[in-house]
């Protein structure tokens, strides 16, 4: 897989503050990367570096094989789409006029505009001034703008802020479609359960450093967080001996809750399945949110 983005020991220093330190990673074509971190963790800085809005103070960045601040930057930007956090537009122009302006600047055929407006569900409001748009409509206009010219690489900073659940679903369907067409997508979000099913890998940042990088499975292995197993049934009367790595959390008349270390998972499941009191089993692997909390609190404890 060819690398679309390559960071090698990248650092970014603003006056006296390290915004990013020693960050290295590669993203391949058609990959969807979730960029996670607290406020000030370096997500927006990372995006700005990829866009070439700022230059790194240390290390090397390559996007489609070229430096984003180098001589080929302009050709590079033709292939990029960006949705900034809290996007804003020219209030006095209509939605269609805004898109026309940006399409001209990107040298994209103007006939794409109607399709994009329809795709983000703004056709009915295309002639209205942006001034009258709601937060969600502005966000959708921002998306349409980012999609101009079918970019090979999309950077979406908090793309679902202000979108209602239906619009959010449509948005992620669009991300999947883009991925299937071979585009690479980087998106940051605070709504971790929302993005979990759609990202291939997650890059977790904390205070400008890389805390973890990998697919959810890889992160689970790395974190070694216990699973939650709950079994329906009455478990109160007889004490049970559990295999090593299994810790009962709650024993009730209707439900048993266990915390199971990854290595003890199968042993615990076999025992529960064999037990006649088990009426039903539910297995809950650590979610992206659990993993995120794990990696970010671990780094804070270390600091």
């Amino acid at each position: 897989m060819t690398a679309v983005i390559e960071f090698e020991a990248v650092g970014k220093r603003y006056v006296g503050v390290d915004s990013l330190r020693d960050l290295s990673f590669r993203i391949g074509e058609g990959e969807v990367l979730g960029l996670l971190g607290h406020n000030g963790a370096g997500k927006t800085t990372t995006m700005k570096l990829i866009l070439g809005l700022i230059a790194p103070s240390a290390g090397r960045i390559s996007v489609f094989g070229a430096s984003p601040t180098g001589a080929e930057a302009r050709a590079l930007r033709q292939k990029l789409g960006y949705l900034p956090e809290n996007v804003s537009f020219y209030e006095q122009l209509s939605g269609r006029e805004v898109l026309t302006y940006f399409a001209r600047l990107k040298r994209v055929p103007l006939r794409q505009i109607d399709g994009l407006l329809e795709k983000v569900g703004l056709t009915h409001a295309a002639g209205r001034r942006v001034k009258t748009y709601s937060k969600g409509m502005r966000q959708r206009l921002g998306l349409a703008q980012a999609l101009l010219g079918a970019p090979r690489l999309l950077l979406l900073d908090e793309p679902t802020t202000g979108l209602d659940p239906a619009a959010t679903r449509d948005f992620y369907a669009m991300v999947r479609e883009l991925k299937d067409n071979g585009s690479t997508v980087i998106l940051s979000s605070h709504v971790l359960p929302g993005i979990e099913p759609y990202i291939d890998r997650a890059l977790i940042l904390g205070r400008g450093r890389r805390l973890a990088l990998g697919s959810i499975d890889e992160l689970r292995t790395e974190a070694g967080l216990p699973l939650r197993v709950s079994a329906r049934g009455d478990w109160r009367d007889t004490p049970t001996r559990w295999p090593a790595g299994v810790r009962p959390l709650a024993i009730g008349a209707e439900r048993l809750e266990l915390e199971v270390a990854p290595h003890a998972k199968m042993a615990a499941l076999r025992q529960l399945a064999a037990d006649s009191r088990t009426q039903d089993l539910e297995l809950q692997a650590p979610t992206l949110e659990n993993l995120y909390t794990h990696f970010s609190t671990r780094s804070e404890a270390a600091a």
Partner: protein, 276 residues
């Protein structure tokens, strides 16, 4: 080049839409007709008077108004988009910062030129119809020069406004600094020059003072329009030190062009070398 035209087109359409063009043209046109008609009121008569008096009065008024209008039009060109949040997005598009600034200059310049030409042009038409003993060729020539120099003066202050706009970090500061610039060039410079003339006039010499005038674009504009007429001698004030023709119109026009090019180049340079 395409990007420059796109940006310029948007700025110009904005100018039409928010009525900047109309407002400037109206103000300038009404003032010009008013001055032409009431210009001789001091001598006890109303009605269109001599061309030289009209141009001289117009120039003294335009020297205050045009810089102010240009600064108001353009002071937020960059800082405004930055505060609005659209600058960040624009800079991720395939257009250079130079193109962005030049495009804006072209757009704002066109707004100012359209309004000035329309406003003063219509006024000229009214004068040519209303006034009796005016030689048409002379009117066209001197009004033409007046309009040309007024447009150039406007562009000078658009360029200066851009320099302000890329230097500051807040829109309100840009507005304040623009006013300071106006104050310095339009009011303070004259006073300083007058003080110099009185205090050290002999040491600097008449020629030295003449060249000092080139340091102020508004003086260049005044000189261009006043020196041609005898009536100017009384109305030109400090400027009259140079009124005997030490500075040819070509030199003055060149100076105005330099006053456009230098601040604009500085603004572009500063814009290219600063953080996003």
């Amino acid at each position: 080049m395409n990007a420059i035209l796109t940006v310029a087109g948007k700025e110009f359409r904005d100018g039409l839409r928010n009525r900047w063009v109309l407002a400037i043209a109206l103000v300038l046109g009404l003032l010009a007709v008013g001055i032409a008609y009431f210009g001789a009121a001091a001598s006890g008569a109303v009605g269109f008077t001599s061309l030289s008096t009209t141009i001289v009065s117009l120039a003294s008024l335009a020297v205050f108004l045009i810089p102010l209008i240009a600064l108001m039009l353009a002071y937020d060109a960059v800082i405004g988009e930055q505060e609005q949040g659209t600058l960040l997005l624009l800079l991720t598009y395939p257009l250079s910062r130079t193109s962005l600034l030049l495009g804006k200059f072209l757009g704002h310049g066109l707004i100012l030129a359209t309004a000035t030409v329309t406003g003063f042009g219509v006024a000229g038409l009214v004068i040519s119809i209303g006034a009796e003993d005016i030689v048409l060729g002379e009117l066209v020539r001197s009004l033409g020069l007046f309009i040309l120099s007024a447009v150039l003066l406007g562009w000078v202050f658009v360029a200066l406004a851009y320099l302000v706009s890329v230097l500051v970090s807040e829109k309100s500061r840009a507005a304040g600094l623009a006013l300071v610039l106006w104050f310095l060039f339009v009011l303070v410079f004259d006073l300083v020059l007058l003080a110099l003339l009185v205090g050290a006039g002999e040491r600097i010499g008449r020629e030295g003072l003449t060249y000092l005038l080139l340091l102020n674009p508004t003086e260049c504009f005044r000189l261009l329009n006043l020196t041609g007429f005898p009536a100017a001698q009384t109305a030109a004030g400090v400027t009259s030190v140079a009124a005997d023709g030490a500075l040819r119109p070509a030199a003055l026009l060149t100076s105005l062009l330099a006053w456009i090019a230098v601040p604009l180049a500085l603004a572009v340079w500063r814009f290219r070398n600063r953080h996003a």
